[in-house]
Amino acid sequence: MVSSPTPLKTPLKGSQLKSDIHSEWCPGCGDFGITNSIQQAIAGLGMKPWETFIVSGVGCSGKVPHYIHTYGMHTLHGRSLAFAQGAKLANPNLHIIAAGGDGDGYGIGAGHFVHAGRRNMDMTYVVFNNEVYGLTKGQASPTLAQGAQPKSLALPNPTTAINPVTLALACGYTFIARSYAFDAKHLKETIMKAIQHKGMALIDVLQPCPTYNNIHTKDYFAEMVDVGGSQVPRVYYLENEGYDGVVKNPNDINEVNAKQAQCFEQAHKVEDRVALGVYYQIERPTFQDILKKNIPLLNEFTPVELPYYDPQTMIANTDLSKAAADFTI
């Protein structure tokens, strides 16, 4: 029977979700904060580590599954979403969290990024956005602004940056948020919201890379900026500014249009400040919902449970006669 995962009665402590592997990240790297927040979110939701599957690509950030005590899969550069979707299709009872770099997700994996959104697979994707390729020594990632020249670049970046928030909007992501690696509380809460969201969720996490990105550093995010003559923190929260990204009635086309326009506008705002929060959220049928409609058997069994042999004799017992009738002579 298709069962849905139940939370633990006694939730774990975040520390129980640390693996016994020593991290290889540079001191001060934003990846620590993100990893910690993923652990806190899993613990906070009472998720069972053995029903949780962290899937990453390749890069510094690609190593994240190794540091979390759940099932983990560190795949190929850019391919985490393809692997993750396969795992989810096979066993929809697993909580899937895909995680990895901006080069990984928006560069080499851009094709998969687009189509995962179109499918609205029920999973969470956390992108560690440091604007550089950390593991290959600081080349420009797809989110680095044109003309920017972090210390690792010989020349200013010649190409423009993509906007992950509006890209995700265009692709059909049903939960789109932005958070910051060292804002533990906001990041943990955002990850929890994303996991609870039924559908494809993206969290673009701003991640300082102290080794190669000397522009958007931890200090940069901590600075105060001048807005209309008064000094305010650079990082602010959309929800506190009266911004509400959640579509209340997905069938109300006017509301959907308005929320999408608002998301687009907010994501493209040219400002000195950095806005965190949920940019857009909507409930839409997931890939599993549609699959169950097309393939009624999947309402009774998940693919991994669907029987096909006699467990005593191991003899395959699917009856082919109906399919074979068409070409039986």
Binding site: W50, F53, H66, T75, L76, L320, I329
Partner: protein, 615 residues
């Protein structure tokens, strides 16, 4: 009038005019009448308009290949007449529409019998009787051509009706009577033609008519689809490519069996999604062709180092690059064997016909699970598209092998969270190379996977003391597979012992080789046997050397320029095979060609015979 037990029929026309349906109807009608049939489909990489044709060979005994000149050509348009008229044997026949074709302008042999059929008149009569427009009925020209052909060969018209009943089922059943009206008229016209009695290829009745329902008429794409359902495949991914897409579409249509078929954004997603499915314990596969396989190789390597069961089907077609997208070739073998960087244990299977493809597909999933490694399954356009008649496959006793599983019964005890959080040495170094497997979702068996070299728990390492035994453990699985896979699934010797000539080949050439061996014996009293290689990796080195021990003259037969199996044999066994029959025109080797080629090698000891027949 003679009687024949072997007839080659052809129909052709612009793509999209129903050439396939005519051929299906003719093949099915002959099969229903008790004959054995083999259908060869040729088409351009184009949707509508370009020339396509279908050959159907009918025999009183099982048949697995086509012959070159045809006995009977049927067409209702002129391009087929112009292109193929020269192929009709000198006492053959030509069925055509006199409104569009003037036989005097064709390259016909002088003895060919001409049978004009008034296609339009028949359609008009039916249009009047049914109140339908003549244009809406034009597809029925196919049935007319088939019925005329059946009458000429003195096959019973009732077979057409039975075949139509098999083809048009459910909501389409009402089309049967419409088609039968046309068939009956065409059949009568042919019967009343005095020349009909002169036709030399009247089909002899089969000595024994196989029992109803005892045979299948299918291609290997369908055979594989069935086997995937039988094997419990629970995730099929693909990105559209000819000819692999046929299998995927076939499976998509069988949704009642519960197999999700996912059309991905590209082949990279297709293989990696399938591997993602494999990691969680479903039997997963993807199907592609050459260009797609190139894109999949990085993923296969990941599955190799992470010991994930997954099956990749490569339906070869003409290469390199997009090459001949809808034509036949056997040239991805070396790419399949050597694809992907680094070293990992590859199992590479190569069935020889649709029947083998059914059983081998089922086994591919067992091997993937048992040896916890990707399995590459090589088929090709010929197998995927050509129909063949086989006794019904016996699927009553096919056993599932899931390999060594740990933690299947693992239960979560709320009071013992520590036990549920236990790590599991998924990549444990073992004597035979197989580590027991657990799956995400199981309590007490947490582990990791990475494309990097890793320790027993799946964490990254670069330590030689782990790398050395870990790589050795993985590669040992090939030795185990070589010992365990049944000898007959690795290599088969067909035909008489001590033959003066031995053919060595693999894959879809099996059919034409078996037919050729028979003809060479019956008509030319020449004994030829055949070493069929069925497993490319691990290569059956000892069995091959043993089979070659008494060989007098060995000939490789392959649809390629370079003789890939010749190269592989030398590489694996040191044996150098001197003679080759090769064809790289994109068209399959015919029995006629192969009989002549083997005779030439026997008489003149030619080192290499290059074949090129066919449009």
């Amino acid at each position: 009038m003679n009687r024949t037990h072997d007839l080659c029929w052809m129909i052709g026309g612009p793509q999209g005019t129903g050439v396939d349906s005519s051929a299906t109807l003719f093949a099915r009608s002959c099969a229903v009448a008790g004959y054995w049939v083999y259908g060869r489909r040729e088409y351009h990489s184009n949707i509508k308009g370009e020339h396509s044709y279908f050959q159907v060979r009918v025999k009183t005994e099982p048949v697995y290949s086509h012959t070159d000149p045809v006995n009977l050509l049927a067409t209702f348009e002129n391009s087929t007449a112009q292109l193929h008229a020269f192929e009709i044997v000198d006492d053959g026949a030509f069925i055509y529409d006199p409104k569009v074709t003037d036989p005097a302008k064709l390259d016909l042999k002088p003895g060919v019998l001409l049978f004009p059929i008034p296609f339009d008149q028949i359609l008009e009569e039916i249009a009047q009787a049914t109140g339908k427009t003549q244009t809406s009925l034009s597809i029925i020209k196919n049935t007319i051509a088939v019925a005329a052909s059946m009458a000429l060969c003195q096959l019973d018209i009732s077979a057409i009706e039975e075949a139509l009943n098999g083809i048009f089922t459910g909501s389409k059943a009402k089309l049967v009577s419409l088609n039968m009206q046309a068939a009956t008229k065409a059949y009568e016209i042919m019967k009343n033609n005095p020349d009909t009695a002169k036709f030399n290829y009247v089909m002899e009745k089969p000595a024994t008519v196989p029992a109803k329902g005892s045979r299948y008429l299918l291609n290997a794409a369908v055979a594989t689809g069935l086997a995937k359902l039988k094997a419990g495949c629970r995730l099929q991914t693909y990105y559209s490519i000819t000819p692999a897409v046929d299998e995927c579409i076939y499976l998509e249509d069988l949704s009642e069996y519960g197999l999700p078929v996912v059309q991905c954004e590209d082949e990279i997603a297709a293989i990696n999604m399938a591997i993602g499915g494999g990691t969680t314990g479903v039997r997963a596969s993807t199907s592609t062709s050459g260009p797609g396989m190139d894109l999949m190789t990085e993923g296969l390597g990941w599955a190799g180092i992470n010991e994930v069961p997954v099956v990749m089907f490569n339906y070869m077609r003409g290469g390199p690059s997009t090459g001949l997208p809808t034509r036949h070739e056997q040239t991805d073998m070396l790419a399949c064997l050597f694809s992907g960087h680094g070293e990992y244990p590859k199992i590479v299977m190569c069935p020889g016909d649709a029947r083998e493809q059914f059983y081998d597909t089922f086994k591919a999933f067992n091997y993937a699970d048992r040896y916890q490694t990707p399995v590459t399954f090589i088929s090709d356009k010929l197998l995927a598209n050509n129909t063949v008649c086989f006794p019904k496959f016996d699927d009553s006793n096919m056993k599932v092998d899931l390999g060594v599983m740990a933690g299947k019964d693992a239960k979560f005890d709320e009071n013992n969270i520590e036990a549920a959080l236990q790590k599991f040495p998924r990549f444990k170094i073992t004597e035979d190379g197989i580590s027991p497997r657990a799956l995400p979702g199981m309590p007490g068996h947490i582990y990791w996977m990475t494309g990097d070299e890793h320790c027993e728990y799946g964490h990254i390492t670069e330590e030689p003391e782990i790398r050395i035994p870990m790589q050795e453990k993985r590669m040992k699985k090939l030795d185990l597979a070589a010992r365990e896979i049944l000898p007959e699934d690795q290599l088969v010797v067909h035909g008489p012992e001590n033959a003066p000539i031995t053919i060595v080949s693999w894959g879809s050439t099996k059919g034409v080789i078996l037919d050729t061996i028979k003809v060479l014996k019956e008509k030319h009293n020449l004994d030829v046997n055949f070493i069929q290689i069925r497993l490319l990796s691990p290569f059956p080195v000892d069995a091959f050397k043993k089979a070659m021990a008494n060989v007098k003259r060995a000939v490789v037969v392959e649809s390629s320029f370079g003789g890939q199996i010749t190269q592989l044999i030398t590489m694996r066994t040191g044996i150098q095979i001197e003679h080759e029959v090769l064809k790289w025109s994109g068209r399959p080797i015919s029995e006629t060609e192969l009989v002549a080629a083997i005779q030439e090698i026997n008489e003149k000891q030619s080192r290499k015979v290059v074949l090129s027949y066919g449009l």
